[in-house]
């Protein structure tokens, strides 16, 4: 149970005031989830490492202007989301269509093929299948799931971190969960 003293926001304020140990604690607390978020969004470890480093360096550079306006996690993933969007825009593909507020393609995405039960003999395989299904989701839906599962953000916090409306986040999550359940149906 975190106390007021070791809350993320308190640690970030201490780091802003010059306490390097506070940053180390924050980093240890969030590095895995952030790395996985980036890795599963871009799909390439090398690219994920580059984005991961950029996000933390951005946090370090912005430390002097930090004030507690939201949960630190929301702040951190807002930085990560923006870095991802910059990466998408700089790529040849451009910004994925799924980031549109009302994406008509969501309903047209083909349903994942049902997995044969014999292929899901253990939980580890089910987890790998989940990751496969996750990778097949449109980027915006996948991001919503990752922010919910990795960062533990609520709908409102996901909307805040991604700069979208709450209803948009609900739609993305609703479609994403339906597709994941459908893909794992045979595993239950």
């Amino acid at each position: 149970m975190r106390t007021e003293d070791d809350a993320d926001e308190t640690l970030m304020l201490r780091y802003r005031d010059g306490n390097a140990d506070a940053f180390a604690a924050l980093y240890a607390r969030h590095k895995g989830a952030l790395y996985r978020y980036l890795l599963r969004q871009c799909g390439q470890p090398a690219l994920a490492e580059e984005l991961f480093q950029d996000v933390w360096l951005k946090l370090i550079a912005a430390r002097t202007g930090y004030t507690v306006q939201a949960r630190f996690t929301t702040y951190l993933y807002r930085l990560a989301h923006n870095r991802l969007i910059d990466h998408y825009r700089a790529s040849s593909r451009g910004l994925p269509l799924s980031y549109a507020e009302d994406c008509p393609e969501w309903a047209e995405v083909p349903a994942p093929a049902e997995v044969q039960p014999e292929a899901q003999d253990d939980r580890r395989r089910q987890a790998e299948r989940l990751l496969e299904l996750l990778a097949e989701l449109p980027e915006a839906q996948r991001e919503a799931v990752l922010l919910k599962e990795e960062a533990g953000l609520s709908l409102e916090e996901i909307a805040q971190a991604t700069g979208t409306g709450r209803e948009t986040v609900k739609s993305r999550l609703r479609y994403a969960m339906a597709r994941l359940r459908q893909g794992l149906r045979g595993a239950r």
Binding site: Q53, R123, A127, L130, M177
Partner: protein, 254 residues
């Protein structure tokens, strides 16, 4: 996410299955790099003021240097202006102006047959000397033109700054000095300047002087502070002219 309204978006089985996949972690070298970057800049920006660059250091010195140069130039100009007389007379110029005024007054007095001296020169002037041993009838004849005019004969010299010469030329100063010397020589050569030991010939000439000339000479002695000599001459005068009414001219004798 425990809100019932979020139940549509939360599947505990899916979440549990996802937690199994939480394997990947950033590599250790990436951890080290980021922590190093964080440690390199932990201090607040206010305490990390960078040392001023060379250009900034130069800029910091610019204003004081300009002020110092301005002060030095201003002082130099004022000193030069004062020495050249452009901004009022300096002490040196005041002396020169005073000498020039004296010269002008003495020249005028000489031309009028009267010796004029400034107050500064008067105490040391041997202009009027009466020999104590001189008999009444042989009193040294005081040149009439040299006696009564001393205090107030010189016209006031207006030291107007604009009309005065800025700095008397050496030739002018030399001329003024020569004029002063000539006036003093003339006064020494006058009968009142002769000393008692200069011979009987000059004593004989004292009989030629009138009582008024005696009184003028005594007044001049008093004016010069030679009171003892003045008293002696006054006694001599009374002896020679016992009936002369001294009341008509009390001020010079007192």
């Amino acid at each position: 996410m425990s809100d019932p309204r979020n139940a549509e978006f939360h599947d505990e089985n899916l979440s549990a299955l996802y937690r199994v996949t939480r394997d990947p972690e950033p590599p250790a070298w990436l951890d080290q790099r980021i922590l190093t970057a964080a440690n390199a800049a932990p201090q607040p920006v206010s305490t990390l003021a960078p040392p001023p660059s060379r250009r900034r250091r130069t800029r910091l010195w610019a204003v004081p240097a300009a002020l110092a140069a301005t002060v030095v130039l201003a002082v130099g100009i004022v000193r030069l202006a004062r020495e050249s007389g452009e901004w009022g007379p300096s002490p040196e110029n005041k002396t020169a102006l005073h000498s020039a005024a004296e010269s002008a007054a003495e020249a005028d007095a000489t031309a009028a047959g009267r010796a004029q001296f400034s107050d500064h020169d008067r105490p040391s002037s041997p202009a009027v000397e009466l020999r104590p041993t001189m008999p009444l009838g042989e009193a040294v004849r005081v040149a009439p033109q040299s006696l009564p005019a001393l205090p107030a004969a010189a016209p006031p010299v207006e030291l107007e700054q604009e009309s005065m010469p800025r700095r008397p030329a050496p030739a002018e100063r030399e001329r003024a000095r020569e004029e002063r010397e000539r006036a003093r020589d003339w006064l020494r050569a006058a009968p009142t300047g002769q000393r008692a030991d200069q011979g009987a010939a000059s004593q004989d000439r004292s009989d030629q002087y009138s009582p008024e000339e005696w009184l003028a000479a005594i007044a001049e002695l008093r004016h010069q502070g030679r009171t003892a000599e003045a008293d002696a001459k006054l006694a001599e005068f009374r002896r020679r002219y016992p009936n002369y009414p001294l009341e008509v001219a009390p001020s010079p004798l007192q």
